[in-house]
Amino acid sequence: MSGHSSYVPKTGFERWLDARLPIIRLAHDSAVSYPVPRNLNYFWTFGGILMFMLVAQIVTGIILVMHYTPHATMAFNSVEHIMRDVNYGWLLRYLHSNGASMFFLAVYIHIFRGLYYGSYKAPREVLWILGVVILLLMMATAFMGYVLPWGQMSFWGATVITSLFSALPIVGETIVTFLWGGFSVDNPTLNRFFSLHYLLPFMIFGVVILHVWALHHVGQNNPTGVEVKNVAKDTVPFTPYATVKDLFAMVCFIFVFAYFVFYTPNFMGHADNYIPANPAVTPAHIVPEWYFLPFYAILRAVPDKLGGVIAMGAAIVVLAFLPWIDSSKVKSMSYRPIARQLFWAFVVVCIGLGWLGAMPAEGGYVIASQIFTVLYFGYFVALFVVGLFERPKALPNSIADSVLGTLQGGSGARMGTAVAAEPNAKG
């Protein structure tokens, strides 16, 4: 997809630099001339939005660290010092804490986009697996970040999640002691979480570079799932087409982000985290951040502790195997009448698990969590089975054909494309 470079150095300096370090050529090839399928809808803008969120989190985080004190007796008050005495400290801190939620909102939309349009299928398996690695790193980073204010929910969330590792046979207790830096969650735990919370975002950044590299090598998927055949007809250059569209989507996303930051900044948080950590008092409900709730529900659905930990881990890791689980050759679910319904059922199951994760683990909630956990994993089984016999609708010959409506595959496929590409049709 990357093809021949169209960069032509215009000045003497550019020619000189291009012969030594072709960095302008790299930027030109990946952000200006890079061909983008012309039929992408707005779900494809979330990659750019995520890049923005990662940079925003790193920038606000670096400034917060200048004022934060990672010590069990001072962390809570240093966060309040940021909120009260640091110039615009309240803004930085609310941007960072709500930014984490927005980052996950965007990444979940990004993942569901990939699931619907089959973006994990050949030749994008490595691209997809790198994405799963990024998700895991994001989860670790967010979890450790939530511990840093050293409020009640920080402390007890850290206690619950780290002690999960004690379920592992033989090495479990040793790992927990290692994570804690002692025999309970205490100052050493806070110190190492702080250190890792600073390190992991840069590791994410590294994997993101690989993710984008892989993307630019294989090219973007698109709502039809039909690969680019004719660059001139099927694609548009990244700049100005994708640049201006991504920028517009980014501003819309920042609008939502800013709404939470300025008008209801504690909506995503929990009031208990404004109570300083107290090892002697357990909060009435220990609830993780909303973006962990579906996995938390799966964890609690399994009556056995080790089984719960394995199920929770498997719920994420199974995503990495999707390229080989999904047995259909057709990428886009717009052309897969049965798989498409499975997909939407899966979305409902994930939201249902999220709700159950916030409920107390008792009575009917546990039974419902168990049913939904089975349904969650059932999606992957069903995806394998359905692909074996499902009769997909006729695919368009090319991206250009699907956009211009010169279809040979009959009205069914055309309707599918219309649904999938609707945001684009309006934009």
Partner: protein
């Protein structure tokens, strides 16, 4: 809230302790939603209310509760009670603050300065417990953000759009006037326990502290107080003060928020039409759609 030993809590939490502590939290009465001047996208604190609230805090709450994150200087900062700098200096000077050590290595007392934190009524938690029948009066600095109740589905979704987020203030105001003496039939209180409608589980170690006429409010030109000197009014005013204490930059946040939202709206609108123009043609001039 139940107190568990730390080790057992760490390991037994997931399946065992969660339902247990949920029950221990007991039934809750949802506090009524009051109208607050600081709610909504254009919310601002009512200066007079914050000043009255500070008076209630100082004369009633501060006898047992600390508010150690607050400094006297905060009282004159924009967006708060906005006492004058002179008033704050004079107020701070009425307190004796422990300082030191001096050159002789001794601690000494000096009059307070605007930069000092609000002094705590007790030197440490143990002293506070000893003086309050074993109960620890919590620090009030961020209390208004540290208290809430479950909104439940679908109300928590509506709250995003209505911007309702005053669960903490509503709860505190209701709690301060939610005492029942004598308690309802069938409830037996141990010494040092009181019955409060809004406290989770209803048993609270803090007695009813607000009584009509207890705190004198500033008088208007006719010699009458501008607002009624009732326990209800005290509760509302001191709660507003606590909300400001917990979120001293709330006004700036909402004001800047409006500017940001307007900017994004205009910028986004311009981008939308730019995008439309760019996407109307392919590079070779043929229509995109």
């Amino acid at each position: 809230m139940s107190t568990l030993s730390f080790r057992s809590a760490a390991f037994g939490l997931l399946l065992a302790a969660l339902p247990l502590t949920a029950q221990a939290a007991g039934e809750r009465v949802i506090p009524p939603e009051l109208s607050w001047s600081f709610s909504g996208p254009f919310g601002k604190f009512d200066r007079a209310q914050l000043q009255r609230g500070y008076k209630v805090y100082k004369e009633v709450c501060a006898n047992c509760h600390s508010a150690s994150l607050l400094k006297f200087r905060n009282l004159s900062q924009p967006g708060g009670p906005e006492f004058s700098a002179g008033q704050v200096t004079a107020l701070a000077a009425t307190y004796q603050i422990k300082d030191g050590p001096n050159d002789a290595g001794e601690m000494f007392e000096r009059p307070g300065r605007a930069a000092d934190a609000f002094p705590a009524p007790f030197p440490n938690e143990q002293a506070a417990r000893a003086a309050n029948g074993g109960a620890y009066p919590p620090d009030l600095s961020v209390l208004a953000k540290a208290r809430t109740y479950e909104r439940g589905f679908p109300r928590f979704v509506f709250d995003i759009f209505t911007q309702y987020q005053e669960q903490g203030p509503d709860y505190i105001a209701a709690l301060l006037t939610g005492y029942k003496d004598p308690p309802p039939e069938g409830v037996t209180l141990l010494p040092g326990q009181y019955y409060n409608t809004y406290m989770p589980g209803h048993l609270i170690a803090m007695p009813n502290v607000l009584n009509d006429g207890q705190v004198e409010f500033p008088k208007g030109p006719d010699g009458q107080p501008q607002v009624p000197e009732t326990a209800q009014q005290y509760a509302k005013d001191v709660t507003a003060f606590l909300m400001w204490a917990a979120e001293p930059h709330l006004e700036a946040r909402k004001r800047i928020g409006l500017q940001v939202m307007l900017f994004l709206l205009i910028f986004g609108g311009l981008l939308y039409y730019t995008k439309k123009k760019v996407w109307s043609r392919m590079p070779d001039g043929t229509p995109v759609h």
